[in-house]
């Protein structure tokens, strides 16, 4: 299978690369707090995202307690329950996953992996973080506002999101929620411009597009999508704010609320849904594509084998990114939109399954004839494949328009999206943190705690969400504060709910152990050295670990693709990207 290595094209000279001006901090404040260094900003983004993520974790416990043991906890009343699910969903999707993948990993890895000193617009990058923090604070403020946070569900569908039947609808909750989203989007746009332009213009010498690690491909494509999709959420938020505050009727038709005629008239709730899902579906891939990219690199590095079908992987990322803009209405099959749209959107949705499936095949084929080191990042990558395949396949149920009809708005949907865009990407985040923590801090995370964390999280999460599909098959609707006595729900289903709740508590507790490990290992972890995984990509070749401001003494020059693992004839089983010449290669039949 080893192809002949061509020798066309100009060899890269050792000439010094033109350097860029670098921002230099002058005080502790500008070095660590108002820092313009992408690595510091990445850690700030990640810490904030994990902190707010812990809030979401506690909220999920509270809602699971209510579902598993209805009525046993008096302080969880219906209003609070809906506030908990809304905030849990919103935090996880936007403030944790999007922020952590793009703001966290994007900031840390893009400049390092591409051999740049920093992002191209460091000042905007700093502003991006501070706007994100402000958005998080506004979100948190809604917990303390009169009436509490909004309980409209994370989809915020009008009219109920702005009416009094919903917690926070006529109070501050919804206003703060929408304001927070608007701030987040403005902040993200500043960061997103950085990620895109850095990939376009900041690559070091020899780093062609087809020599970029798939992590960068994933984050880059996701950022381009996010830049084009978030405006839809922005528009929807602004219009809903107008409806709520100024009394306009963008989304509000004539309404009789509790016997009282409201002033609104003529608006279209479906219009909001189109705008929301025009953002909302790409959002799924905004989270998934970085995960795809990162997991490809984890598997390749820890199986000591080049990623199988690199070109196909790149094309698949680009194709998925483009297609994801024309599938949004598969979230709206039973929304009352023109039913004939169903034909188009079902077809596009199932077409997108093909490039996605190819990515899965290529991951498992990378394992084939590899040299698999069962390190923690590898374990998380394997767990990702299991949960992603499971969640992706149930997506074929929901994407196929008729099958969606009985299943939509049931627990099946909840189980599906938690598996595919909750559990799967979060497993990648964990794997990535175990993988790159040594580069960020210079020390390894504790292995024993890591093993406990992995097994409880993976098996526990699977046991939570796999059986949950069957609650949906029974017909149990989602977003029910309590099922009550319902003829078609057997008593055994309630037992299953109790089991799920207990598992959720256990899995949640394991995350506290992980958090402890993160903090403990900063001081007590084993010294890692510069390249503990013997990886090829540039971030492991920095002169110092952790990398200093500016990353490199002299900018690296790239001579090869990022997956030169176990090259036949080479002394080591990896060749770093910046190692010149074809030394070590014994291309069979090459002249």
């Amino acid at each position: 299978m080893v192809d002949i290595r061509h020798s066309t094209g100009e060899p890269i000279g050792a000439a010094e690369v033109e350097d860029v001006e670098l921002y230099h901090p002058h005080s502790w404040w500008t070095r660590y707090v108002f820092s313009q260094d992408a690595k510091i900003i990445a850690v700030q983004y990640a810490s904030t995202a994990i902190a707010i993520g812990m809030v979401a974790l506690v909220l999920s416990w509270l809602m699971r307690l209510q579902l598993g043991f209805p009525g046993a906890f008096a302080f969880i009343d219906a209003e609070r329950y809906y506030q908990f699910i809304t905030m849990h969903g919103m935090i996880m999707v936007i403030y944790l996953l999007t922020a952590l993948f793009l703001g966290g990993f994007g900031n840390y890895l893009i400049p390092l992996m591409l051999g740049a000193r920093d992002m191209v617009f460091p000042y905007a990058n700093m502003l991006s973080y501070w706007l994100y923090l402000l958005a998080v604070l506004v979100l948190v403020a809604s917990f303390f506002a009169p009436g509490g946070p909004t309980g409209a569900g994370w989809t915020l569908y009008p009219p109920q999101a702005v009416l009094s039947g919903t917690p926070g609808g006529k109070d501050w909750g919804i206003i703060l929620m929408l304001s927070s989203l608007i701030l987040f989007i403005i902040g993200f746009t500043m960061g997103g411009l950085n990620y895109v332009v850095t990939v376009l213009q900041g690559r070091t010498r020899g780093m062609t597009l087809m020599r970029m690690p798939l992590t960068v491909w994933g984050i880059f494509t996701a950022t381009v999508m996010a830049l084009l999709a978030f405006p839809a959420l922005f528009v929807a938020c602004v219009m809903m704010l107008f409806d709520r505050v100024l009394g306009t009727s963008f989304f509000m038709p004539a309404i009789v609320e509790m016997g009282e005629q409201l002033q609104h008239g003529g608006g279209s709730p479906i219009l909001f849904q189109h705008l929301f899902w025009f953002f909302g579906h790409p959002e799924v891939y905004i989270v998934a594509l970085p995960a795809f990219g990162i997991v490809s690199d984890l598997i390749s590095t820890h199986a000591r084998k080049n990623i199988f079908g690199y070109r196909m992987m790149v094309w698949a990322i680009v194709i998925i990114g483009a297609l994801s803009f024309i599938v949004w209405a598969h979230h709206m099959y039973v929304s009352g939109m023109n039913p004939y749209f169903g034909f188009f959107f079902a077809t596009t949705t199932l077409i997108i399954a093909v490039p996605t499936a190819i990515k899965v095949y290529n991951w498992v084929l990378t394992l084939w004839r590899g040299d698999i080191h069962l390190t923690l990042p590898m374990l998380f990558a394997l767990a990702f494949i299991v949960t992603f395949v499971n969640g992706g396949l149930t997506g074929l149920f929901l994407g196929n328009v008729v099958v969606d009809v009985p299943l939509s708005d049931t627990m099946f949907v909840v189980a599906h999206f938690h598996m595919v865009m909750g559990v799967a990407p979060i497993l990648v985040i964990f794997g990535a943190i175990y993988h790159w923590y040594p580069k960020i801090t210079g020390r390894m995370l504790n292995e024993v705690m890591g093993q406990i964390h992995f097994w409880v999280t993976f098996v526990g999460a699977y046991l939570i969400f796999f059986p949950m599909h069957y609650l949906g098959l029974i017909g149990m609707p989602r977003r029910y504060y309590e099922m009550g006595e319902t003829a078609f729900v057997p008593a055994s289903a309630h037992t299953l709910n109790e089991f799920i709740t207990i598992m959720a508590l256990v899995v949640g507790a394991a995350q506290l152990l992980f958090l402890f490990n993160l903090i403990w290992s900063i001081r007590h972890g084993r010294e890692a050295g510069g390249n503990p995984w013997r990886a090829t990509t540039l971030e492991w070749q920095t002169p110092e670990t952790p990398p200093r401001h500016g990353n490199w003494k002299e900018l690296p020059v790239v001579y090869r693709w990022p997956y030169d693992y176990s090259v036949p004839g080479a002394a080591e089983d990896f060749i770093p990207q910046n190692q010149p010449g074809s030394a070590g290669h014994a291309p069979e039949g090459a002249s």
Binding site: G9, P231, F234, V238, S268
Partner: protein, 234 residues
């Protein structure tokens, strides 16, 4: 969502054209030690700030196209009465166009090292921008005085919201322009100054184009055009 989808198709075509020149079909594992880098000397020929502005304008275009999509979708309902356009909007349009011309002049003069002329043009452009915003506020006042309030009718709501959003973008541009004026106040105009002015000018031309589309939309000409397209399609 048709408007947005058309815009996306355009953006994706540009992205696809660019990607097609990046040798996506090459086999990178065969190319050890060689750079097939389309960038001369491995460094970008276009300054990052220009690319950054281009990407940002694509985002802004997506934003306004979504507003316009929403406008068309909401227009289909029966409670829609077009808002009359105050006459002053014509004047505002002219002022915005003048600002665009002035910035273009500032750029050309800066490139030819006629620094004083360039500085004057920049300040004049700033004044034009402020005058445009004042004119827009005046137009709003005129409409509210005539009884066209924001919540009365969706056409009014859209007019205030979208023109307000455009105004905010102009305001942001004015901040950037002020920064450029302050920074180029003293000393000769170097390459960086020319770049900053060019960026301001590009932004201004773009916001002018957006305003022309919006003005056509609010006046109802865009509807006739869309209607024509629909008839041609069916």
């Amino acid at each position: 969502m048709n408007v947005t989808l058309i815009l996306l198709a355009v953006i994706l075509t540009i992205a696809g054209w660019w990607l097609s020149r990046q040798r996506l079909f090459s086999k990178p594992w065969l190319e050890v030690g060689h750079a097939f880098d389309p960038r001369p000397d491995g460094r970008p020929s276009i300054p990052p700030a220009k690319i950054g502005l281009g990407v940002f304008l694509a985002v802004v275009a997506a934003l306004f196209s979504l507003f316009i999509s929403a406008y068309f979708m909401r227009m289909a309902s029966t409670d829609w009465w077009s808002t009359p356009m105050p006459k002053v909007l014509w004047l505002n349009t002219a002022i915005l166009g003048l600002g665009s011309l002035l910035l273009h002049a500032a750029r050309v003069t800066a490139e030819r090292h006629r620094d004083e002329a360039s500085r004057t043009a920049l300040i004049a452009a700033l004044a034009a921008g402020l005058a445009f915003l004042a004119g827009q506020v005046f137009a709003w006042r005129e409409l509210t005085d005539a009884g066209f309030l924001i919540a009365d009718n969706p056409a009014n709501s859209f007019f205030y919201m979208i023109s307000g959003m455009h105004g905010l973008h102009i305001l942001g541009g004015l901040f950037a322009l002020t920064r450029v004026i302050v920074r180029t106040r003293a000393g000769p105009m170097d390459e960086r100054a020319v770049l900053s002015i060019t960026l301001c000018a590009t932004y201004w031309h773009f916001m002018l184009a957006v305003w022309l589309v919006l003005f056509a939309l609010f006046s109802g000409w865009a509807n006739d055009f869309v209607e024509l397209c629909r008839q041609l399609l069916t």
